[in-house]
């Protein structure tokens, strides 16, 4: 194998490691930053009032998208806009992973 090929292979491996780290869904870390969410959505995503959605058991990629949409203004809600302002994309992924791993919502035909 040529030296150049080896370099390309090495760089690819490095970038793969970095990109998968960036895409990690860390439910444990999500739980550690979920206290503020729990005030309305409950500690495991079963909310305290009917106006606030249940989020326990929801798909993680949907939850992430919802948080991102609040941040981007695609979804407008004064409460959630304030909540997501300080969240990074990694925070949102980790929170989504935590609530997705809880019991609650189910697919209904």
């Amino acid at each position: 194998m040529h030296k150049r090929h080896l370099i390309v292979l090495g760089l690819s491996a490095v970038s793969l490691v970095f990109s998968s780290a960036a895409l990690a869904w860390n439910a444990e870390r999500g739980q550690s930053i979920s206290q503020v969410c729990a005030a309305c959505h409950g500690p495991t995503g079963t909310s305290i009032a009917p106006d606030f959605p249940n989020i326990g058991g929801q798909h993680r990629d949907y939850l992430y998208r919802a948080l991102l949409d609040y941040k981007l203004g695609n979804r407008q809600d004064p409460i959630m806009a304030g909540q997501v302002a300080e969240l990074s994309r990694q925070d949102m992924r980790d929170l989504a992973a935590f609530y997705a791993a809880q019991e609650g919502l189910y697919l209904k035909r």
């Binding site: 909310s47 009917p50 106006d51 606030f52 959605p53 249940n54 058991g57 798909h59 949907y62 407008q76």
Partner: protein, 110 residues
């Protein structure tokens, strides 16, 4: 006089509740509109492809009031998703209440 007083009280109540009277939803009446929902929300693992790819949400066991709020937000444009906005625009307030009742109320635990 008494009638006017009652009207006045009713007006204050309506204002206090944001003018939105919660309609009673009927899960059975939802059947006529369910065909618009099940093609996405009733299929395990289904993903929306536009504007980006992600799983459509599970609706079973969701709060009735929140589901109505979500549909209204799509209709009002405060929540963006092209197909959901189009579907919500075709629903009356009563339709929304019925669909919300259908998804929120569990049958035999599920």
């Amino acid at each position: 006089m008494e009638g006017r007083r009652i009207l006045f009280a009713a007006g204050i109540l309506a204002l206090a509740s944001g003018g939105a009277w919660a309609l009673e939803g009927d899960p059975e009446r939802a059947e006529q509109h369910l065909s618009a929902c099940i093609g996405c929300h009733g299929i395990p693992g289904y993903r929306t492809a536009f504007p980006s790819v992600y799983s459509v949400p599970k609706l079973g066991g969701q709060h009735e009031a929140y589901l109505v709020k979500a549909l209204q937000a799509y209709r009002d444009g405060t929540r963006s998703h092209p197909s959901m906005q189009a579907i919500a625009a075709s629903l009356s307030d009563q339709d929304m209440a019925d669909l919300a009742a259908y998804y929120a109320r569990s049958e035999g635990g599920r």
